[in-house]
Structure formats: structure tokens, C-alpha cells
């Protein structure tokens, strides 16, 4: 599904109408570009970026969506604003923690400006697009080559208990084999 403005808008409308499933394609559409922005532009660590994305989506479903004005149809611009506010909060907390006002002030100001620009343009910065296309294509090929049963097992998750579900681990192993077939062996760091 193309993550166009109107599609995002539709998903937000559905989410507002209590269709909790709409959060899945929203995350699919936006979490990767949010991550690129958080790490690439605002110098957040992986953990901070991950936290920012989770916080943004939780903030949206935890009341934020009720403020979404359907008539305005903001879509991705509205999402970026919510995400931007979370990033700014994290940067502020970081600033307080590190007491490094000079460098983080600049980042904070930059984040605020970027978010205004992003909201006005409502377009994804091409500079934030996927860097490792080859790798992503291999992941995609591996995913597509998995059987439906294996894909479902992975999407169901690990499952309860110490060892989780057997079919989950079998599917993960199969995915790794397929991925390495398409991409080559991965060197462990």
C-alpha cells in the first residue's frame, strides 16, 4: 500500500473511530522514516529513537487521535508534528541529563524548525529514504519466500513460556536461511 497523504488520513480517521487495527499500517508507513529522522537528523541513539517512535504512537492512541481534525485532513503532517513533539521532549530530557546546553540547544532548535518545515511540506525528505536498498530488498525477498504458515508464526510472536512456540523458532531459522541465500552470509559483530 502506498503511504500517500490521503491513505494516512484515512487510517487516522479509522483509528479515531476505534479501529485499533489501523495503527498497524500507520506504523508500517511511518516508523522507518521516523527512525531515520530521529537518528540521522536529531542524533538520537537507537534506544532513544525506538523509544520516541513507541511514545509517539502511544501518545496518538492514548487520546491524541481524538484531537485529529478530520476536516483538515493533515495526515502525515499531523503525525510528524506528534512525533516531533516527542523528539523535542526527549532532547530536552537529554539536555537536562547531560547539562550540555550549548550543543543540544542547537539540535533542539533545529528539530523545532525541521518539524515546522516538514509539517508545511508534508513530504518525506528524500535524504531520509532507505539507505541500504540492497539489504532491504533481500529482507523483502526472504519474507516473500517464506511460507504463509511461517510468516504467520513469526507475526504471532515468540509465545509464552521459557522456550516459546516451536513453529516460531523454526520459521525464524528458515527466514535466516532464505535471507542469507539472497544477501549472503551476515558477519556477526
Amino acid at each position: 500500500m502506498d503511504c500517500e497523504k490521503n491513505y494516512i488520513h484515512q487510517l487516522l480517521v479509522q483509528l479515531k473511530d476505534n479501529n485499533d487495527e489501523a495503527v498497524r499500517p500507520l506504523m508500517d508507513c511511518l516508523s522507518e522514516v521516523f527512525y531515520k529522522a530521529a537518528v540521522g537528523k536529531y542524533q538520537l541513539s537507537h534506544e532513544e529513537a525506538q523509544d520516541a517512535i513507541q511514545q509517539a504512537f502511544v501518545r496518538i492512541v492514548d487520546g491524541g487521535i481524538d484531537k485529529y481534525v478530520e476536516e483538515k485532513g493533515g495526515g502525515p503532517g499531523w503525525m510528524w508534528r506528534v512525533f516531533g513533539r516527542v523528539v523535542i521532549d526527549i532532547l530536552r530530557q537529554k539536555q537536562n541529563r547531560l547539562r550540555r546546553e550549548e550543543s543540544l540547544d542547537e539540535t533542539l532548535e533545529k528539530a523545532q524548525n525541521d518539524i515546522l518545515v516538514q509539517e508545511a511540506s508534508e513530504k518525506e525528505d528524500p535524504g531520509w529514504s532507505v539507505e541500504h536498498e540492497e539489504e532491504k530488498k533481500a529482507v523483502q525477498k526472504a519474507w516473500d519466500a517464506l511460507s504463509i504458515v511461517d510468516r504467520k508464526a513469526i507475526l504471532r510472536g515468540r509465545g509464552p513460556g521459557t522456550y516459546g512456540r516451536t513453529e516460531y523458532w523454526t520459521a525464524l531459522k528458515q527466514a535466516r536461511v532464505l535471507f542469507e541465500t539472497f544477501y549472503g552470509p551476515i558477519r556477526q559483530s
Binding site: 484515512q10 495503527v23 506504523m27 522507518e32 513507541q54 504512537f57 529482507v139 510472536g157 525464524l172
Partner: protein, 176 residues
Amino acid sequence: MDAQAAARAKAHVREMMENAAAFTEALGLPREKMFTVLSVMYKDTVVAAQPATVTSTDALKNRIFQLSEEYIGTKMKAQLPSFHTLWERIKTLPVEALDMGMQQRAPSAGLGFAGSQSLMPVVSLISWAVINQSSLTASTPEKAKEAIVKEAESRGFPRSQSYAFALYLQSRLGNS
């Protein structure tokens, strides 16, 4: 959004992130790739029809009323009081009558008050869209748009207004 739906949505967010992180690790990729992996895993996610989708006649009528009131209140504001009067007169009719019975030109003849003539085709079109919501949402956005435009034109709306209707109804019924 109600509390239960919000709790379910939060669970989806957590589950997606956990699954993506685990799958990234299983592939041997660095953790920084987890959102790339997530976008692959959930690329084909299809949103099921709105759980609150109308199922009973009363629910269908409520939806028709809500959408009609919203559309008229936005685009034909001066006629909102007339719409409320009209609705009081037609709300007991079967939903099929709101759709099928009103398709002829000058459909409101006999309702007996000014303004109803321009409102009835609006209610009729919205009724048709609500009744056919499941097939509209199952179609591609382009096909759904064509179907709405065709229905609107068959009720005497000009082409530009028919497209405006398509835009509005697709945004409300979940296919655009």
C-alpha cells in the same frame, strides 16, 4: 477513541516492535535495521472493516443521519434546519426506501416543505453509500470513486459535485 480500542492499539504497537526486533536479530542484522524490517513484515497489512460497521437497521439509519447531517452542515449549512425537519419525516422509512425509492428526479415531491427537494438526493446518495459500504471498501479507491460518481450523477448532481461527494464519502467510509 475509547479506552478498550486504545489498549488494543497499544498492544499492537508493542507487539510489532517486539516482533520486528526479534526478526531483525534472527536475520543477523544490526538492531538499527529493525524499522526497515518492520516495514517489510507489515507491508501488506490490511485494515479490516471498521468493527463498528453498521449491522442493524437502526445502526444504518444512524450512520446515514450522521453523514448527511455532517455533509449538509458543512456544505449546505443554511439548509440544516430543513434537513432536521426532513429527517423527522423520513426516518421511519426502510433504509432501502431512502436509497431506492428516492432515485427519481424531484424525489421529495410530496414532502411538502421548502428545501427538501435539494436535500433528498443528498440523503439518498449517502444512504446508498452506507448500504453498500462493504463493497465500496473492498474495491480499489479508483473503482469506489467511479461508483459513487455514477450514483451521484444518476441522482442529478453535476459532475464536479459528484466528485466532491466521492471524496467526502470515501474519506468517511474508509476507501480512498
